[in-house]
């Protein structure tokens, strides 16, 4: 074969790879999972100064408006809740905020799904990317490669399809439905056109935050304690599928981090519609067991746990019509839910 043929072949192969990468970039923009909510939250965060109180948790936590809370309490608060936020991402958020601000208080707003077996890998992946998006380009690439390698070759993943799909970003961040796709695309394109980047460098070494190899925030004794606690899940007869060991590990890590950094943590099960517990026949009974276990789990670590269901007037103060589904408050009633939750937080103090 002639040399020119060789060069031609190599160029063709290169062109193939370039086109493939371009297609992946377009798909990446079109399938941005939460339509940029995490990106928006971190963009707002990056221009916020003097944060003292941080709210973390999943989308149910968006019922607490940080600005209104600040006005009512005089504390400078910021809400870092995002859709399907996992506990490891919540920990990442607390770490991020406390590394850049003097955070005194953290409120973890969660539902029982947060500590359940549901997989939040995709959200964690997305969060990692967004947090790192303000890093210098080379750092971002090396960070991504390092993390992908770590995940791709991890014992649990290396033999599975996920080990390859980790390298295709949109595989982990997919939205469904054409309207979501077009919204995501519009948002991404407008960001690129306007040059709207995250204002402050919020890049953080997430190797130790989201994908830690060792529970770095816990000393040996506490690791043992955690193991004992996790053992209790089965001893207490908590039905499988309600509490997941790995989520409890993350919760223990949040407690440990807050304890080591003098952050006052409150773990709160957010309000929900009155028919929330009707979802499954035995759900209420199971939730009661899980609730009591979580109470012990958090209290043992010196923090406050509160399930808003304990409040007998919950459904009077926040009637069902305020919710657009089981656990999310409609936009026009957020001031009411904020007022309610602020009262609870103050009461717990």
């Amino acid at each position: 074969m002639q040399r020119s043929d060789h060069i031609k072949r190599i160029l063709k192969a290169l062109l193939f790879v370039i086109i493939f990468i371009m297609i992946m970039i377009i798909f990446d923009a079109a399938f941005l999972m939460d339509e940029g909510v995490t990106e928006d939250m971190l963009a707002d965060y990056s221009v916020k100064t003097g944060i003292e109180t941080v709210f973390v948790g999943n989308s149910a936590g968006e019922m607490l408006d940080a600005d209104s809370y600040s006005m009512m309490t005089g504390e400078c608060a910021f809400n870092m809740c995002t859709p399907s936020q996992s506990l490891s991402v919540s920990l990442g958020n607390i770490k991020l905020a406390s590394s850049q601000h003097h955070v005194k208080k953290a409120v973890l707003l969660m539902t029982f799904d947060t500590v359940g077996p549901e997989d939040y890998d995709a959200v964690e992946h997305l969060y990692y990317r967004v947090v790192n998006s303000s890093s210098p380009y080379h750092k971002r690439i090396t960070g991504t490669i390092r993390n992908n390698m770590k995940q791709s070759f991890s014992r649990d993943v290396v033999n599975t399809e996920s080990s390859l799909n980790i390298w295709i970003p949109w595989e982990n961040e997919t939205v469904h439905g054409l309207s979501n796709v077009s919204n995501a695309l519009k948002k991404r394109v407008s960001r690129v056109i306007s040059g709207d980047r995250l204002g402050k460098d919020i890049a953080y070494d997430l190797n130790t935050v989201i994908y830690p190899t060792v529970p770095d925030d816990m000393d040996a004794d506490e690791t043992n304690l955690l193991e004992n606690d996790i053992g209790l899940v089965s001893e207490l007869g908590i039905p499988q599928g309600l509490l997941a060991d790995d989520k409890l590990t993350d919760l223990a890590r949040i407690c440990s981090y807050c304890s080591n950094n003098d952050i006052d943590l409150t773990v709160m099960i957010t309000p929900h519609r009155s028919d929330y517990y009707d979802r499954y026949d035995s759900f209420l009974e199971n939730v009661t067991i899980a609730d009591s276990y979580l109470d012990q789990f958090v209290s043992k670590r010196g923090f406050m746990y509160y399930n808003t269901e304990e409040d007998e007037e919950l459904h009077v103060k926040l009637p069902d019509e305020y919710f657009y589904d089981w656990e999310h408050v409609s936009g026009e009633y957020v001031d009411r839910s904020t007022e309610y939750l602020t009262g609870i937080i103050q009461m717990l103090e």
Binding site: N159, S163, L164, H176, G177
Partner: protein, 518 residues
């Protein structure tokens, strides 16, 4: 280890590189890299259970050599001058007796291991992890030994080469059951990979992956919702929908996996035996079994069916029946019984559960009956003036065969035989289209599947159908595309890659290869 995984990618990259280096440095011994790949793959996935494979390899390697030696000695002896015909005959008989005894011992030994691990332990409720590919390499061992006895080919002297034949890694997950005479040459010859060969292997594997993930895995949750141990009360329309999808899922999963294995094997220059030939275009169930899981079907035909019907007592019995009841009777009765035995074995090969036996018998009974009534059908066709070669009758037969295969799904998927029978009955006695459609609608609302998953699976299935249609007409779409300009190939390649990647995002979970469990 999934074919589509980082572990497999690294494994294959490492061994392709080693294979290429070996091809340049010592081409005559390049096969040792293939052997190393096979043994490494086995050790990674099955660890110490490799002793079962080694034991089988030793028995068939040694056994085949002894059989060969006995035949050679006998031939030499018969050349001795002055031997009478009687003495020659006696010597041949003696030799054959020894050979057969040895074959019987080795086959019994290999099948006993298979039976103990695969059937006895599970029946005694002590399931054990099966050695990788035991159901496949046990049959390969038998075919090798019997063929050496039949002097189809010479016994292989090199133990490493016999071991390679049994542990060639792409065949270990779910077959095919390769034949030594068909794969042997490729396994041991030198081979150099180049761009077109790499591309060809990649396309085959890519299309296989699309079948497996974009069809098989997307349909699986729907099939599981429709056909399960509690399906007895479901309306027939809903069950039929599930069984119809199962037929597609099963083909996509199995043939997709085989294609991926085929692509991996081609990287080393080893063309494995074909396992499918557009089975859903079959005009009869017997033909279906010549096109579906070809390697298992042909094994059963060559090493069970023919030896059985051509054995002296059975062929004598056939002649007797023919004499008494007419020429077709012997074929129908003996053929029918043979088919029942063969398909009972095919069912049991899939596993010790009763429903597999039932599934095998279902196939066997239909083939036996269709064979028995063949003259009657021919007479009816002649009387009605139906043209046997017409397009219409061919389409009808294809549809009829497909439906027979679809119904078989009830016994293949559903564990309790009673439930399978109830589902079969419901298809005819309690069809209830209205209730069935309502239940199908709930599959989306209950989160079993999504519109995206359904659309992706539909598009991929249409592609698979078009591909099969072309192949049925003797045109290979892959080679057709392969001859086109590079940008046409790229468009096809990118489309398939995007479909594959997208299918992962809408999938509710990855399933393993169905036949890997066998």
């Amino acid at each position: 280890m999934a074919f589509y995984s980082m572990a497999f990618l690294c494994f294959i990259l490492l061994f392709v590189i080693l294979h290429e280096i070996a091809g340049r440095l010592f081409p005559d011994h390049q096969w040792t890299i293939r052997l190393l790949a096979g043994v490494s793959f086995y050790l990674i996935l099955s660890g110490a259970r490799i002793v079962f494979l080694l034991a089988s390899s030793v028995t068939i390697w040694g056994g085949a050599l002894i059989i060969s030696r006995l035949a050679k000695d006998n031939k030499e002896y018969r050349k001795t001058p002055g031997l009478s015909k009687e003495e020659k005959k006696l010597s041949k008989k003696k030799c054959q007796r020894r050979q057969r005894s040895l074959i019987a011992v080795i086959i019994v030994y290999n099948l006993a291991i298979l039976a103990e691990l695969k059937y006895l332990f599970p029946v005694l409720s002590h399931p054990v992890a099966l050695p990788l590919g035991i159901s496949f390499y046990s049959l390969q061992s038998i075919s090798y030994l019997v063929d050496v006895y039949g002097e189809k080919y010479e016994a292989q002297h090199n133990f490493g080469k016999v071991l390679l034949y049994l542990c060639w890694f792409p065949q270990l997950i779910q077959g095919p059951i390769n034949r030594y005479d068909l794969i042997g040459q490729d396994l041991y010859k030198p081979y150099r990979l180049n761009a077109p060969r790499l591309r060809y292997a990649f396309y085959i594997a890519l299309f296989g992956a699309v079948k497996k993930y974009a069809i098989g895995d997307l349909l699986a949750p729907v099939v599981n919702a429709c056909l399960n141990d509690n399906s007895a009360g479901y309306p027939g329309s809903y069950l039929l929908f599930g069984a119809f999808l199962f037929a597609i899922e099963q083909y996509a999963n199995f043939s997709g996996g085989i294609d991926m294995a085929m692509g991996a094997s081609l990287l080393f220059g080893v063309k494995m035996n074909d396992n499918f030939r557009q089975p859903y275009f079959s005009t009869s169930l017997a033909e279906f079994w010549r096109r579906w899981h070809i390697s298992l079907g042909s094994f059963m035909r060559d090493y069970v069916f023919y030896p059985f019907v051509t054995s002296k007592p059975i062929s004598g019995l056939t002649k007797t029946i023919n004499r008494r009841f007419g020429n077709h009777a012997g074929r129908a009765i003996i053929g029918g019984i043979s088919n029942l035995i063969v398909f009972a074995l095919v069912g049991l090969w899939h596993g010790p559960e009763k429903h597999y036996l039932m599934w095998g018998m279902y196939n066997g009974i239909i083939i036996a009956l269709s064979d028995a009534f063949a003259p009657l059908f021919a007479t009816i066709n002649r009387t009605l003036g139906i043209c046997e070669d017409g397009k219409g009758i061919r389409c009808f037969r294809i549809a009829r065969t497909f439906m027979i295969v679809v119904f078989a799904g009830y016994f293949d998927v559903i564990g309790p035989v009673r439930t399978g029978i109830a589902c079969f009955a419901n298809t005819f006695l309690h069809f209830d289209l209205h209730q069935g459609l309502n239940m199908i609608r709930t599959l989306g609302t209950d989160g079993v599947t999504s519109v995206q998953a359904a659309v992706t699976a539909c598009i991929a299935t249409v592609l698979l159908f078009i591909n099969s249609l072309y192949k049925e007409k003797g045109i290979s779409p892959l080679e057709h595309i392969y001859d086109r300009k590079y940008y046409v190939r790229w468009i096809v390649c990118f489309s398939l890659m995007i479909m594959l990647l997208y299918s992962f995002t809408v999938s509710s979970g990855i399933r393993g290869f169905m036949y890997a469990a066998f």
